[in-house]
Symmetry: C2
């Protein structure tokens, strides 16, 4: 199923203890529909606390005589209105929302204009100008296959940190907002927010765009910039 | 001062009992800054529960040796982040945020596309197509000086219901959203939401655009359509 959610009221996607999470709300709803026989769901990946999703993809197994239309209606009627199931379709037995992913698209939105209280949870309120030309230049260093250790949690030491970023794009809108898009075969934890935070430091003139080469090569989290806030980040699409 | 706020967490602008309101948050902050000597504030008008403001105008008297810059910083540091003082300027003794108003501008935003949980508190989630051509036609009937009794609370029987609407405009955006703009010398309680609700019924084909003539002439609230939800409404500007 394709699910959109406002992450601002949640402790992230992933189920954890008594916290309010997207996964637990959806599992509770689907389990109820399944006559309280527990159903586990699998997403394309977790999103962190405060991060939003436009088209998160989730799969689950359900052995039940119900139309996809009615199932969708039933789930939407049982979840809070800050989560919404946009569509449900049947998939092959071997499809897995996480392991079948070919690429993911994230967008990050920054407001360079004055503080906007109405969008405080949905757009990073940077509220100052940035050198977008240099930011765009710096962004290009991310394209291709790299070890992204500099942009993830340093203690995640057992994983493979190589990811392939295929598309980066920076777009300035008329309303003083900037959208940065990343498409890649996968993203490490905090990777997009750490990339954006580093790019912002280029936009502030604290770093040069060429510095990105050394930052990436160092494979050292302490060489990159600070992490940008969660509120500006959206999981936009997942490709299979 | 010019103030923007996200109305979704408030019981409206106006102070009332123990409820969380915009006025009470601002008065509390300014009173604190004024060494706890009570300060009362006066807005261009109240906004109802759930209604937002982009540029609400508010005046107050403050006898204090503080720069406008520091005053603004101080207020913003003492109010929740869903309210924001954009600017403060000194005004003449005879200026009154409410009585000096020449015109007000409201916008109402409707989403004709699929339900968007991220914007559920900021855009009316109508989520179906509407006949925008007929809606635009119907809107024109509001322009000019009319008695707007059909579009306000029927029990407000002692007031003058004549208002002058100068500009109406309907704009379709690329993203399936529609913005309806109203500029007028004043608006009665619920007037914009009742006008929008009635126009939507034209867009649904339940009423003809020409019906607006009779609805306005009747001065009868029961002849108009239902009230559109608060979340789509923004007080955009106040003109003096």
């Amino acid at each position: 199923m394709t699910v959109s959610y406002d992450g601002s009221g949640y402790s992230g996607y992933q189920k954890q203890g008594g916290f309010r999470t997207i996964q637990s709300e959806l599992e509770r709803a689907i389990t109820e529909i399944n006559n309280n026989k527990p159903v586990e769901i699998y997403s394309s990946g977790r999103t962190d606390k405060g991060v939003h999703a436009i088209n998160q993809k989730i799969h689950f197994d359900l052995n039940m005589d119900i139309s996809l239309y009615n199932l969708r209606e039933a789930i939407n009627s049982k979840i809070p209105d800050d989560i919404y199931v946009k569509s449900i379709e049947e998939v092959d037995e071997d499809f897995h929302a996480r392991y079948s992913v070919i690429a993911k698209e994230y967008i990050y939105i920054i407001n360079l204009g004055e503080f906007n209280p109405i969008e405080r949870n949905y757009v990073y309120q940077y509220n100052k100008p940035l050198d977008l030309v240099n930011m765009e230049r710096a962004l290009q260093y991310f394209v291709g296959e790299h070890d992204f250790s500099s942009f993830t949690k340093p203690d995640d030491s057992k994983k493979n940190f190589v990811r392939n970023i295929r598309i980066v794009n920076l777009k300035k809108h008329d309303n003083d907002k900037v959208t940065i898009t990343f498409v890649g075969n996968g993203f490490l934890r905090y990777m997009v927010r750490n990339m954006v935070g580093t790019i912002i430091e280029v936009g502030e003139g604290k770093r040069k765009s060429e510095d990105l080469y050394d930052i990436i090569s160092s494979k050292d989290r302490t060489k990159a910039g600070i992490m940008a806030p969660a509120c500006g980040l959206y999981l936009k699409d997942v490709y299979y």
